[in-house]
C-alpha cells in the first residue's frame, strides 16, 4: 500500500524497541484494555515473522477489525492468530482476501461469524499450506454465506446464515478429513438440502446430524473401506483362504488416541479409510528394493496405495491367525511383552513374504526406518527404538545397521526361521534373550523415544496374549446379558438410495420404505364394480381371445412353411429315388404359443386422487379402482402372473408401500377386499416405490417383466422443495429397472403430464386425458402392450 507512512530505518524484525512500540500503539489506535495487556507479547511474535510493510498492514487490519463494533474479541483474535497464519502461508499471506471476507460479513447480517472465522484461521492455514488453497477456502465460506443469508418464509428482514459460524468452528477438523474439493461438496450438500431450514442447517454444519457425518464420510480423501470392501473380501478369500468378516472402525472422530487394527471373535477390524502412504525414504537407496519401478515415484519415496495398505494390514492379521499361538502373559514384564510382539510380528511377516514375495515391497515401504543413533540412551528410553530397528532389519536385508548385537540377533532370527515356520514359543525365547542382553537402565525412563517406531499396519496383538490372573472365574458366574428383542411390528423398513441430480451422486440409504398389507374392505364392492362394467368386460373378453401368445415353437411336416426342413426333404428324396411315395410335407414353420409375462401394477395413492375427475362425478380414486379391477380381471383371464401394490409417502422417512395382491395369491376375495379399501393420502415419492416394487418383480422367472405405474401427478414430497429432484430420481429408477431387464410403463392421469412424464419414462407412457374412460382404457392399454 503506497499510502503507508514509512517507519524509521532502525526497525528490524525481531528487535525490541520501546519507543517504536508507541508508534505501533498509535497505529493500532485502540483503547481495549485486553489488547493493552498482551500488546507487547503479540508484537514480539508478529515482528518475528513480518517485515516492515507487513507490520503496518497487520496493524491497519487489526484497527479496522477493532472498530467494527463487535467488541474486543475479534481484534484480539486477529492479533494473536495472524502471525501463525503468516508462518504457515508465507509472508505475503492473503490479508487482502481475508479482510475482504471480514468486511463482507460485517456488511451482511453475518458479523457474528467474524470471531469464529478468525479463531480457526491459523489452524486452517496450517492444514492448507498454500495461498491458492487458502483462497479456495475463503471462496467456499463466501459461497455459503451468500447462499444461506436471506429472508425465511417471506419475512422482510434478512437473517444471518445459520451455518456459517459452525462451518468456521469445524473448519480445521473438516480440512483434516477432506480435501478442498470434498469440503466444497460437503458444504454444497448442506446448502442444497437445508438452505430453508435454519435449525437443521446448524445441525448439519456443526456435524450433529447423521447425514452430515455420512456425507463427510463419503467425501473423505483416501481409499474408503466401503469402496474396496468386496475387493478385500476377494483378497482374503483368494490369496489366503480366509472368510473372516471385515469390520471397519471410524478414524475420523478419534483424534487423540487412534485405534489400531485388531481382530477378535467378530472379525477383523480395520480403519474405515486409508490415505495413500508415501514412504519418506527414496527407494533407490534400498538394497532390497532394487528392481522395483522407481520411475514414477522418483525421490518422493515409495507410494503405497490405500488398497495396498488394507491388504498389508489384512495379510498381517492373517499371518497371526495362521501361525501365532497365544502365550500366557502373566509372568512377562511389559517390556518383554513388547519385544515378543515385535519378534512375533516379524516372524509372521517373514512367513507371509515366503508365501507371496511381493508383500516385502509393501511391508518395507510401510515400515518405518529408524535412524541408528537417533535415540540417546542417556536421556530417553530406547527399547522401542531398538526393537523397531531390529524389526526393520529382520525384514530388510539391506538395512545397513552396524550395531553388533542387532546383527547378531538378525542372524539368530534367520537361523530360527531357516528351519521352517518356527513357533511363537521359540521366537518369544529369542525376544526375551534380546531384552536381557540389550537391557539398559534408561529403558525405565518415562521419556520414550517414539519417532519412527510406529508400524501402523500391524494389529494390536490382543490375540497373542492370555492372562490367567484376570480372574475369569468370578466372571463366569455373571449371566451373559440377554438382549431383549422386541417383537417386530410389520416388516422392518427397507432403505433405498435417492439420486441427487445436482451432484450426480447417490444419497445413501436416504428413503425408508415400510411395507404393509393394505387394510381390507368388502370384496363384494369389487364384484359390484365388475358387474357395472359387464358390457365393457364382454368387449375386453373378445380382445383377450384375439391376443396372440408369444413363445416360438417349431412345427415340422408342413407342406407349406417358412423354411425347408432338410432332414425331411432328404428323406423324401431318398424315398422318391427308392421308388416309394415321397412325403410332400418337407417344410417347417414357426408359430407362437404360450405367454410368459409377469406384471407389477403400481398405484399412486397420493392425496390428489381424492379430487373429482374432470367431466365426471366420481373421484379419480374411484375410477382407478374400477380400472384396476377390470385390468386385474383381464390379466387373470390371460393367466399372466401379476401383483398389485399402492404407495404414498410422508417425507423420506415414511414411504408406505401397500401390498394389495402378490404373485402367489389368487385374484380372490382377499385381494379384492384390499383393493376395495383403497384410500388416498399424502404425497408421491415415486422412485423409492418403484425400486421396492422392482425388488419383487425382478426375481420373477418370466421372459418379459412389466411394471405398470398408474399415477395422477408428478413425483413430489413435502420435504423436497426442488421440483426436479424427485423427477430425476424417478428417471434414475427407470434406468435401473431397465438395466435389470424390467420394462416400465406409465399411465398418467394428469393431462399436463407430458413434460415431466417423458423426462421420467422416455417414450414409455400414455396420458389419459379423459379420466372418466379410464376403466376401459387401462385394460386395453395393457392388452396392446403385451400383444
Amino acid at each position: 500500500m503506497p499510502s503507508t507512512p514509512p517507519l524509521p530505518d532502525s526497525v528490524r524484525a525481531g528487535e525490541y524497541h520501546p519507543p517504536l512500540m508507541q508508534d505501533y500503539r498509535a497505529r493500532l489506535d485502540t483503547r481495549f484494555k485486553e489488547v493493552e495487556a498482551v500488546f507487547e507479547e503479540v508484537m514480539a511474535e508478529a515482528l518475528a515473522v513480518l517485515g516492515r510493510e507487513d507490520i503496518c498492514h497487520y496493524l491497519d487490519a487489526a484497527r479496522v477489525i477493532g472498530k467494527l463494533g463487535r467488541g474486543v474479541e475479534p481484534m484480539l483474535t486477529f492479533l494473536e492468530e495472524w502471525p501463525s497464519v503468516v508462518r504457515a502461508l508465507g509472508a505475503e499471506a492473503v490479508l487482502a482476501e481475508v479482510m475482504g471476507l471480514v468486511m463482507k460479513m460485517h456488511d451482511s447480517p453475518n458479523s457474528r461469524a467474524i470471531t469464529p472465522f478468525l479463531q480457526t484461521l491459523a489452524a486452517v492455514a496450517r492444514t492448507l499450506t498454500t495461498r491458492a488453497q487458502m483462497r479456495h477456502y475463503l471462496e467456499i465460506a463466501d459461497d455459503l454465506m451468500t447462499r444461506t443469508t436471506g429472508s425465511i418464509h417471506g419475512h422482510h428482514t434478512t437473517f444471518p446464515s445459520p451455518g456459517l459460524p459452525d462451518l468456521f468452528a469445524q473448519a480445521p477438523f473438516l480440512l483434516a478429513q477432506l480435501s478442498l474439493a470434498g469440503l466444497k461438496n460437503w458444504v454444497d450438500y448442506g446448502i442444497r438440502n437445508y438452505s430453508s431450514h435454519p435449525q437443521r442447517q446448524t445441525d448439519y454444519f456443526s456435524l450433529q446430524s447423521a447425514d452430515s457425518r455420512a456425507v463427510l464420510q463419503r467425501e473423505r480423501h483416501g481409499t474408503l473401506f466401503m469402496d474396496v470392501e468386496r475387493q478385500l473380501d476377494l483378497y482374503l478369500r483368494g490369496l489366503w483362504r480366509e472368510t473372516e468378516h471385515l469390520l471397519p472402525y471410524s478414524t475420523a472422530f478419534d483424534g487423540i488416541r487412534r485405534p489400531i487394527p485388531y481382530h477378535d471373535k467378530l472379525g477383523m477390524r480395520v480403519p474405515d479409510v486409508y490415505d495413500d502412504f508415501v514412504s519418506p525414504f527414496s527407494p533407490g537407496a534400498e538394497g532390497a528394493l532394487k528392481g522395483i519401478k522407481a520411475g514414477a515415484e522418483g525421490a518422493a519415496g515409495l507410494r503405497v496405495s490405500g488398497l495396498d495398505r488394507y491388504r498389508a494390514t489384512l495379510a498381517h492379521m492373517v499371518g497371526h491367525r495362521r501361525w501365532s499361538q497365544a502365550q500366557i502373559a502373566d509372568n512377562w514384564s511389559p517390556f518383554q511383552r513388547m519385544a515378543v510382539e515385535f519378534f512375533e510380528d516379524c516372524r509372521v511377516e517373514t512367513l507371509l513374504i515366503r508365501e507371496y514375495p511381493g508383500l516385502r515391497r509393501i511391508f518395507l515401504a510401510l515400515h518405518p526406518k529408524p535412524v541408528e543413533g537417533a535415540c540417546d540412551p542417556e536421556t530417553a528410553s530406547c527399547l522401542r527404538h531398538r526393537l523397531a530397528m531390529l524389526s526393520r532389519a529382520f525384514l530388510d536385508p539391506g538395512h545397513g545397521y552396524r550395531d553388533p548385537l542387532l546383527n547378531e540377533f538378525v542372524r539368530r532370527f534367520q537361523e530360527c526361521m531357516a528351519a521352517g515356520a518356527s513357533s511363537t514359543r521359540d521366537i518369544a525365547a529369542l525376544a526375551l534373550s534380546y531384552v536381557t542382553l540389550s537391557r539398559r537402565a534408561s529403558d525405565q525412563f518415562a521419556r520414550i523415544h517414539f519417532a519412527n517406531t510406529v508400524i501402523d499396519y500391524r494389529d494390536d496383538n490382543r490375540q497373542l496374549w492370555r492372562f490367567i490372573e484376570a480372574g475369569e472365574e468370578e466372571e463366569a458366574f455373571d449371566e451373559p446379558r440377554q438382549l431383549q428383542s422386541e417383537p417386530a411390528e410389520g416388516l422392518p423398513p427397507r432403505h433405498y438410495p435417492e439420486w441427487d441430480y445436482q451432484s450426480l451422486t447417490w444419497r445413501p440409504d436416504w428413503v425408508s420404505v415400510y411395507e404393509t398389507l393394505h387394510p381390507k374392505g368388502n370384496p363384494a364392492a369389487i364384484d359390484q364394480l365388475l358387474l357395472k362394467h359387464a358390457a365393457l368386460a364382454k368387449r375386453l373378453k373378445r380382445l383377450l381371445d384375439l391376443l396372440k401368445p408369444q413363445d416360438k415353437v417349431r412345427i415340422r411336416y408342413q407342406e407349406e412353411g417358412s423354411e425347408l426342413d432338410l432332414d425331411v426333404a432328404l428323406r423324401s428324396l431318398i424315398d422318391f429315388r427308392g421308388g416309394a411315395t415321397p412325403d410332400p410335407r418337407i417344410n417347417m414353420s414357426h408359430k407362437t404359443s404360450g405367454r410368459d409375462i409377469a406384471v407389477m401394477l403400481l398405484l399412486d395413492l397420493s392425496e390428489s386422487l381424492n379430487e373429482k375427475a374432470a367431466g365426471s362425478d366420481q373421484t379419480i380414486l374411484e375410477l382407478s379402482q374400477e380400472a384396476v379391477s377390470l385390468l386385474a380381471w383381464a390379466i387373470e383371464r390371460l393367466g399372466d402372473p401379476f401383483a398389485i401394490a399402492g404407495f404414498h409417502s410422508n417425507t423420506r422417512h415414511d414411504v408406505r408401500y401397500l401390498h394389495i395382491k402378490g404373485y402367489g395369491e389368487p385374484w380372490g376375495d382377499d385381494a379384492k377386499a384390499r383393493l376395495a379399501a383403497m384410500q388416498a393420502g399424502w404425497s408421491t415419492r415415486m422412485g423409492a416405490a418403484m425400486r421396492h416394487a422392482a425388488h419383487y418383480l425382478k426375481p420373477r422367472p418370466a421372459d418379459k417383466r412389466l411394471m405398470l405405474i398408474l399415477t395422477d401427478g408428478q413425483p413430489s414430497d413435502v420435504d423436497v422443495q426442488d421440483e426436479r429432484l424427485l423427477i430425476e430420481d424417478a428417471h434414475q429408477a427407470v434406468k435401473e429397472l431397465d438395466r435389470d431387464g424390467l420394462f416400465t410403463y406409465c399411465i398418467s392421469l394428469d393431462p399436463k403430464a407430458d413434460d415431466y412424464v417423458s423426462r421420467i419414462f422416455g417414450r414409455h407412457y400414455t396420458v389419459i386425458d379423459n379420466i372418466a374412460r379410464l376403466p376401459e382404457k387401462l385394460p386395453e392399454l395393457f392388452l396392446a402392450l403385451t400383444k
Partner: protein, 267 residues
Amino acid sequence: MTDPEQYKVRQEPYYQPQGKEVELYAAAYRKRLPVMVKGPTGCGKSRFVEYMAWKLGKPLITVACNEDMTASDLVGRYLLEANGTRWLDGPLTTAARLGAICYLDEIVEARQDTTVVIHPLTDHRRTLPLDKKGELLQAHSDFQLVISYNPGYQSLLKDLKQSTKQRFTGFDFDYPAPELETTILARETGLAEEMAARLVKIGQVARNLKGHGLDEGISTRLLVYAAMLIEDGVDPLDACRMALVRPITDDSDIRATLDHAIDATFA
C-alpha cells in the same frame, strides 16, 4: 472301409497321472466298460483320453457334441448321389466297426433324446441298430465308448439322464495338486520349475474365488498358455494378465484381486 490308421494317436501325448486313473482305465478297457470322465474345463480330460488311446494303441474318434446334433449325426445317414443313395457311417458307427475308442466330448451339450442312441452300445449287447439301413451292427471287440462332461455347468436343462449315467464307469478329474501342476507346466512348456510354481500359485488364488464372482477357476490349460508365453520371453506380469486374468472375468474387483496376486507373486 475307413482306414483305422488315420485315427491312431501317433505321438505320445504328455500326461501326468494324478492318481491311479491310468491303471483303472486300462482295467476298464480290458473289460470294455464304457467310461465317463468328469471334471472342470481345462483340467486334462481330453488329454487323458488321448493318452490312453495312445497307450493302448487304439484308434480314437472324437465327437464334439452340440445342441443341434441329431442321432443321425452320430449314427450315419443316407446321402444323395447322381444315381441313387449312399449310406455314410457316422462317427459312432465307424468306431464300432473299426474297433476304435469313441470319445463323445461334452456330452451334455447334445440333447437328451440324441444321447439315447448310445444305450445299446453301452450295455452287455454292444450292438448298434442302424434302423434306416436295416442293419444290426455288432460292435468290434476293441470298441469302447468314452464320454466327458463338466458337472460345474449350472443349468437345470443340461444334465445326463439317469439311464445314461448308469451305463458308465466314472472318473472324477480335478485340477492337479500344486506340486503336480507345477511339474505339468514345467514339463509341458519347458518353463523353469520355480516360475511354474508361481503360476500355479496364481491359479490357486483364482480357484479359491470360484463361486464368488468366478464360475470356474483358472484352468491348467490357461496356466499352460501363460507358461508358454513366459517361455517365449513375454514379461511374466503381462503374460499372466493376458492368459490368466483377461479371459476369465470382466468383473473389475476380481480383476484387481488377481492382478494384485500376480504382482505379489512376481515381486
